[in-house]
Amino acid sequence: MNARQIHEMGVAELAAAIADKQTSSVEAAQALLARARQHESLGAYLAFNEDATLAQARAADARVAAGERSPLLGVPVAHKDIFVTRDFPTTAGSKMLAGYQSPFDATVVARLAGAGAVTLGKLNCDEFAMGGSNENSAYAVAHNPWDTSRVPGGSSGGSAVAVAARLAPAVTGTDTGGSIRQPASFCNVTGIKPTYGRCSRYGMVAFASSLDQAGPMARSAADCATLLTAMAGPDIDRDSTSLDRPAEDYTAWLGKPREGASAAQPLKGLRIGLPKEFFGEGCAPDVIAAVRAALAEYEKLGATLVDVSLPRTELSIPVYYIIAPAEASSNLSRFDGVKFGHRAAQYDDLVDMYQKTRSEGFGPEVQRRIMIGTYVLSHGYYDAYYLKAQQIRRLIAQDFQQAFTQCDVIAGPVAPTVAWKIGEKGDDPVANYLADIFTLPGSLAGLPGMSVPAGFGAGGLPVGLQLLGNYFQEGELLQAAHAFQQATDWHTRSPEGF
């Protein structure tokens, strides 16, 4: 099997090819590593360890030779550099962790490895997952393969680039305020953020503890389902926020028609709620057009569209940008130059060491969020900011429950625009924060959400359709996404030259 075809294959196809001995895990890994080096200028990867990758690939091939067959066996994947890995350095996109070697693997990484997946390398991201464009990475800007002068989105920018440019058939990302969904939308990639607590957070460098979730990104809902099945499930021993719900086989939802539905109209009975707040002036017309066209397809598949309201959508911006930085400011206190990570070279005393270390190690956006977080938790401000935000958070979550009495799934745009030019949003944090308006509400409520390629907007740039489900309804979402992907081919498109 020659190199060109390996990168064209998604997870299912590649797993089958390896199982049928048409190729090997080693061959696939080598081909994809070569391709990654060929496209280094995209800034997708931060680290490789070829010896480790090939050792994993050889072990997978041995399992295949022993007769084992499973959906991820031998399949090369890559991990967002937020997940700690024993065999690869972890930086979380920050100078603070330059060269850091974790003595353990993140649970999600270990589970994928246990299922036979092979790690190609670590993927670029916004520093400590803070950002929506990958421009906050301390190491390299990542480029959207659809237009390399544009951002791929963030914070899982490197992850989205790797899938879109076909450097890897599937990757892991993390989503705190939209960091899987938004880059997926910008890069024509399928991604899912599960219900909060569905995937273990053990081994994810913490940003905002009550919001962070791991999830897969790939070329199809089907491939996402395969990865999510391996990634998700209780981690009772290590993560106290991990849900004690039995692991599920999400692939069982694919192609399964809804009750009472037919092959022709597989989504009959599915009520799709459209929040009026997601379709107003705040969203660019080209995005709305692509989303509405996608929704028309859903109607053809048997779904009905219903108007709903999420009245506190706009409030999700201040609420999120108080809660997330507050938690982050505390989570990042461990970076003090004492036990691991960067330490300043020159300092006068302990306090000076702390200050210089942290000021050198953290980039401007991280420092900004630490400042916000520290402020809203500080004496005299806690009630007015942090506590108030958590109260409104509950109201936002209740708004969703109200909406779900009228629909099964909520749909709308992922982001107000298509990908913008690198450097365009400048240093103005608020401009960046406002762009998160459609993904933040689902994050605050802890609901599962997907981005599904839905077409193209201005400049031929990808537009994703966001699907939000009620708690624990990852299966329903994947089912709805898969049905759409059986009837359309947006998700199969690749950017020219990749």
Binding site: P103, E314, L315, P318, M371, Q390, V430, Y433
Partner: protein, 99 residues
């Protein structure tokens, strides 16, 4: 509700961050810009609303799981200290801590 340069100094100290003069000024402007949009929250009536600390608590009780009191982490000092900036005889070294 506007922050002052004093606030910036105080918060930076709490967070062990060192901001230069221009950096402080820029930070002040950016934070004030941010807190302008935060003002929206004041208009929301949250009387009697429980804060939502754990998202899935909206649909059911979330309780802390307890594990048995068993030691299962052996000595892993070498691996754990691999990325330490300064170590001597197994101890992490820092500038002298004055009490």
């Amino acid at each position: 509700m506007s922050l002052t340069p004093n606030d910036i100094g105080r918060i930076a100290k709490l967070a062990r961050l060192e901001l230069s003069g221009p950096q402080s000024e820029r930070m002040l402007g950016q934070l004030n810009g941010f807190f302008d949009i935060v003002e929206q929250m004041n208009a929301v009536d949250t009387t009697g609303v429980e804060p939502l600390a754990h998202p899935t608590a909206v649909i059911g009780e979330v309780a802390l799981r307890l594990r048995p009191d068993v030691v299962s982490e052996p000595n892993n000092r070498e691996a754990n200290q691999k990325s330490a900036p300064a170590v001597e005889r197994g101890l992490f070294l820092v500038p002298k801590v004055i009490e």
